[in-house]
Symmetry: C2
Subunit: 142 residues, 2 copies
């Protein structure tokens, strides 16, 4: 059932959403070894790279809404993978030792996802498209 058979194959709405869903699945697969979703994983990676990073900074890096970050943090905190420390109006996020232990697996997941993308699409095409998509996304940013 090739994508291009769809009545809406030329429509940005369908193509971007379909691609995102398929990419999400590929990423979930790559992250299964860690036992968390890609969003949680990338968030965790950011806090491992920069312990004490603020919730707002995570939102910007991950291009997600603050409320979504709160939800991700709640879950990771409940899994004892990180800890929030609120100081005044900001919240700093620290990885736990358990999270530090997971770092190798996390890096493997990142690498595996990247490798699969390259394998499936080729470095050339992958890069070209990612750049193009980012440009469009920027234009769609209010």
């Amino acid at each position: 059932m090739s994508t291009v058979n769809s009545r809406f194959a030329q429509c940005l709405y369908f193509t971007s959403n379909a691609l995102a869903r398929k990419t999400e699945k590929l990423a979930q697969d790559s992250w299964s070894r860690v036992g968390i979703s890609p969003s949680h994983g990338y968030l965790l990676l950011l806090t491992l790279e920069e312990p004490g990073i603020q919730a707002g900074a995570l939102a910007r890096q991950l291009q997600l809404q603050p409320s979504t970050i709160t939800r991700l943090l709640e879950k990771l905190e409940s899994m004892k993978l990180l800890q929030r420390i609120t100081e005044g109006k900001t919240t700093a996020v620290f990885p736990t030792n358990k999270a530090k232990t997971l770092l190798p697996k996390i890096q493997e997941s990142v690498a595996e996802f990247s490798a699969r993308c390259m394998e499936l699409l080729g470095k050339e095409e992958n890069t070209k498209l990612v750049v193009g998509m980012a440009k469009i996304a920027d234009k769609l940013t209010p």
Copy 2:
């Protein structure tokens, strides 16, 4: 906060998801005149174009899972915009008169979304990227 500042700007996972979310918002905007979401809208359009279309065909056209189609149908049926008629193991979907009345607004929404895409991105770039994304999505299809 340009997209490209992100730590993960080169990653297909982030770019495709971010683009999809922004496209979704643009489409929601275009569909606000009809009072339904883009998914519901495109589904409704398909049933207006082909009354009696089967649920499975809708799933294929819209590139969504059957369970998702059921959920969309439930909502549109509750809004008296369409009616399901189950015959044996298949379900045929018919638009109501209310839906037929909405057709002009629906077509306006489709046109408006398309126009906004063209305006923001240019026909050239839009087409090029949509084609590229569809190709990638196809490669990601198991």
